[in-house]
């Protein structure tokens, strides 16, 4: 268990660092999470090459999303996505009922306003992973009550 917590701690320190940086550069109270999102993007992009190495070629987009929900998620969060929904037109909703970065600090509405900070990295991670698989997307997250989290993936078709 101790080796799992290292990643969680590093993640929360990266967020603290990014917040500290934006505070010193522009002095405003506005929170800039694009740095964290970018870190996630780069990590997702690189890890995808490794994870898909032993995997047969993906049939279609849905097949790729299923991979994200199962193997990709298990690799990073030690569990699978609890629910995947799609409208078959490029919108996918991934629901995690006990999101790893949120389970540690709240179980309800306390700290709800800070939740966006802790999902930015994961949004980047999904976007980066999909970008490497040649799927351009916009990933947003939605947190309604604490340990559960929904990720909306909008695939950008050209």
């Amino acid at each position: 268990m101790a080796d799992d917590i290292v990643f969680d701690l590093l993640h929360s320190e990266i967020i603290n660092y990014a917040l500290e940086q934006t505070k010193t550069t522009n002095g405003s109270k506005e929170v800039d999470l694009s740095v964290v999102e970018y870190i996630g993007f780069a990590a997702g992009y690189k890890i995808m090459e490794r994870l898909t190495r032993e995997w047969p070629r993906f049939k279609d987009e849905l097949d790729t999303m299923k991979f994200i929900c199962t193997d990709f998620w298990t690799c990073i969060y030690k569990k699978q996505i609890d629910n995947l929904r799609t409208n078959h037109q490029g919108v996918y909703v991934l629901q995690d009922n006990a999101f790893r970065f949120l389970t540690n600090f709240s179980n309800g509405h306390q700290y709800l306003e800070y939740a966006p900070r802790y999902v930015a990295y994961t949004c980047g991670l999904i976007r980066g992973g999909l970008a490497n698989l040649c799927i351009n997307s916009i990933v947003t997250a939605e947190v309604q009550s604490m340990p559960s989290c929904k990720f909306h993936i909008h695939v950008q078709r050209t």
Binding site: M48, E49, T52, R53, P56, R57, K59
Partner: protein, 155 residues
């Protein structure tokens, strides 16, 4: 024995082309590039048949074969044989063997498959290098050295 190995990016730009200079027709950069780039059309053709066979259920056996990342022999010329491999991330790996040398002419398919799988593993390691930006050429000397030794061992 492989005489030339290439890594081609998503947009068909060369990320890495390496060869061993003991073969007269592949000892310069230009002829290597030429050999590798002629393979790209064959690669695209294979990939497009993968996509169309999804709707065509009669090609069921062919489809299971095409879901493999290793695409096998793309084509052969008088002097060379060219093998292809496309990763899930659409990185194309090309391996060229010489059919004039005795070790290259009777190379088995399984050997090429393992060589390309190892090349894929090396590539996956290379892009985890923080000094490498995605889409740039691979300039890592470590990668170059490992690929060269892979080409030599693959006799």
């Amino acid at each position: 024995m492989a005489v030339c190995v290439a890594v081609i990016g998503k947009d068909n730009s060369p990320l890495y082309i390496g060869g061993i200079g003991n073969d007269t027709s592949t000892d310069n950069e230009l002829s290597r590039q030429w050999l590798v780039h002629t393979a790209l059309d064959a690669l695209e053709e294979r990939l497009s048949t993968t996509n169309t066979s999804n709707t065509n259920s009669s090609a069921n056996t062919a489809r299971t074969d095409l879901r493999d990342l290793y695409l096998g022999l793309l084509y052969s010329t008088d002097t060379h044989k060219i093998y292809g491999y496309v990763t899930n991330t659409r990185i194309k790996l090309v391996l060229v063997t010489s059919s004039t040398s005795p070790s290259g002419s009777n190379i088995r398919d399984a050997e090429v498959r393992t060589a390309l799988r190892r090349l894929h593993a090396l590539y996956a390691d290379a892009i985890c290098n923080p000094f490498h930006l995605p889409g740039d050429q691979i300039t890592s000397q470590k990668f170059d050295k490992q690929v060269k030794s892979l080409m030599l061992n693959n006799v």
